[in-house]
Symmetry: C2
């Protein structure tokens, strides 16, 4: 039920030094220690760390991840607070899904044309380059 940092590393797919870094950075809680001073972890830590890894791979910044983790950690805070934070992240997530959807379609089209012996022209750049209007981001 209690396992080492190496085991946690294997379960979550996050390198050992990175786990220690996340603890120092406040993304992971300070782990309880064995008599000899080594960190001990449980299932919840593996889940939390796996979430952090996925969120990082998806391009979320540590600050955003912290907020998402807080949603889980403090369900007692007001509905309005949760709603505002969740809604903001929801909009962001939907933007990303839309962008990735366009990229997926373009990649699929290229592969399809390849199969028919044509070297189709590639519009990967145009695919994500347009839609500059989805911005409203840089003040």
């Amino acid at each position: 039920m209690a396992f080492s940092i190496g085991e946690l590393s294997r379960r979550a797919g996050v390198k050992v030094p990175t786990i220690r870094y996340y603890e120092a950075a406040g993304l992971m809680p300070p782990a309880p220690r064995s008599d000899g001073g080594q960190r001990r972890y449980g299932r919840a830590d593996a889940e939390r760390l796996t979430f952090i890894r996925h969120a990082r791979e998806l391009g979320f910044e540590p600050e955003a991840i912290r907020e998402l983790l807080d949603l889980t950690a403090h369900p007692e805070q007001s509905c309005a607070t949760i709603d505002a934070i969740a809604a903001r992240h929801l909009r962001e997530v939907e933007r990303r899904i839309a962008s990735l959807g366009r990229l997926r379609d373009e990649l699929a089209r290229m592969i399809g044309e390849c199969g028919h012996g044509r070297i189709g022209d590639c519009r990967v750049v145009e695919t994500l380059a347009d839609h500059a209007h989805c911005a409203g981001e840089h003040p």
Copy 2:
């Protein structure tokens, strides 16, 4: 038709020093210079840079972005090469869309429960923490 780095910065939503950094890093081609040595850009540069920004926001590493840009830049390379690279990115993009979809559903559920006066428990962590099986990533 030819504009400055500041103008490019505004069009693409990327800071001026970052543009110079991308040039040094090889993500942007070396820009032609004015008589006085200032960089001059065209429409294609703005598109490319906007693509880079979007791809970075979506969590793609510079190396992956370089590959995607190369797909566009060298349509003359063999079908097999293009197919392999595009297929790999397609799988990755689909994984991300699936992950984001789960996160979106969970955020939407929380907001929905908020609206009905309940402070629903938050499962955002579980949402992305499971599915460790989609790994095959860390050797």
